[in-house]
Symmetry: C2
Subunit: 214 residues, 2 copies
């Protein structure tokens, strides 16, 4: 009886918690962010923005990722005034040093050796901008990630898979092998993947209720 109800509910899975009255623009080319937005069942289009990623060293990681997320969203908002635009930025910080995307295969291996057996922080900022109504909102989340001790063979196999190359910190917590390296996290999981889903949801509810379908 209950099983039948469940099956029915699954079939009619149109009841989404989060629905927008118009398509969102994702100002990022990250395939992970795209997949997470899809997971939420949101309709959106992707228009990557090309902005300078330079931020003064004196800026804290928390402000760094919000500033870049805003820069990315603003760049698209200028051209699409009536659209809601989502920008995001992720950086990895280990012992007060920011670790970006690896520049080469050797660099990826070097980064992974550094993170091995250590805890680092993943900061992700999001920005939601809507030029027509003059709204510009940013928020950030941070999650601590502890790696297990990695062997040279494990690092080599992961680097050879190619997966580390387009990722800040040279790993993806959600990919085949990245998942094996992470011992524990403290914070929001999706922040590590590149888009803090609950924070996005709360920001939409707070600042863009007019875009939500009740």
């Amino acid at each position: 009886m209950v099983r039948d109800l469940t099956a029915l509910a699954y079939a009619a899975a149109s009841i989404a918690l989060l629905r927008l009255s118009s398509a969102l623009i994702l100002a990022s080319k990250s395939p992970r962010r795209r997949q997470l937005l899809r997971q939420l069942g949101l309709s959106f289009i992707v228009i990557p923005s090309h902005v300078s990623e330079l931020v003064p060293d004196s800026v804290t990681p928390e402000r760094h990722v919000q500033r870049l997320a805003l820069r990315k969203a603003d760049a698209i908002s200028r051209r699409r005034r009536s659209s809601l635009v989502l920008g995001a930025d992720t950086i990895v910080v280990h012992r007060n040093r920011t670790i970006g995307k690896p520049g080469s295969v050797r660099d990826a291996a070097r980064i992974l050796r550094r993170l091995s057996g250590e805890t680092h922080a993943v900061h992700t900022g999001i920005a939601l901008t809507h030029r027509a109504s003059g709204r510009r909102v940013a928020a950030a989340e941070v999650t601590q990630v502890t790696f297990g001790s990695l062997t040279d063979r494990e690092i080599a196999a992961y680097v050879e898979s190619g997966s580390p190359m387009d990722k800040a910190g040279a790993y993806g917590i959600q990919d085949e092998q990245g998942a094996l390296f992470v011992q524990r996290i403290n914070g929001d999981f999706y922040t590590v993947v590149g888009l803090p889903l609950r924070r996005l949801y709360l920001t939409l509810k707070q600042h863009y209720p007019d875009f939500l379908v009740a």
Copy 2:
């Protein structure tokens, strides 16, 4: 140049960190566990085992999940003596009370109301058995999960989606809406989904090196 190398590496994504010399048997009918094993690139077959899930109340959650994981693996190992069998069990504990799968839609809503704004623990046990060599190994992980405050509307929408019905604790941290409810976790993410991937990997390396392809 680097980009081309990366593309090549992606194309030849046959370099897996974790490969087994023979197919594993997953003694669980959970679609999440199946998906996680697939994510690792492991080859396996599914033979759900039907065992009693009764465990005395006096048993700690950590032992509870290991005992049931072993029970599930043993049930299959008896019939498939030369196969490596993986069993797993997950329970949710909130304020010293164990929360299982919801028995009804109303029960699911009641569970979610209880977890709202609170921290609970998700325990997952795994067992790897191989009857031919007499090996029986179990391990467990625990992850703390903190929910945000949920509104009645959010709970109703999630319950109506049907997703909570087959899950201990009435939510899936990886599904569309479950992801929106979780504020933070402390521990391994995959333990909450139902299979601690790094623990599985370490257990295989330690106790079943003869099954790993170097």
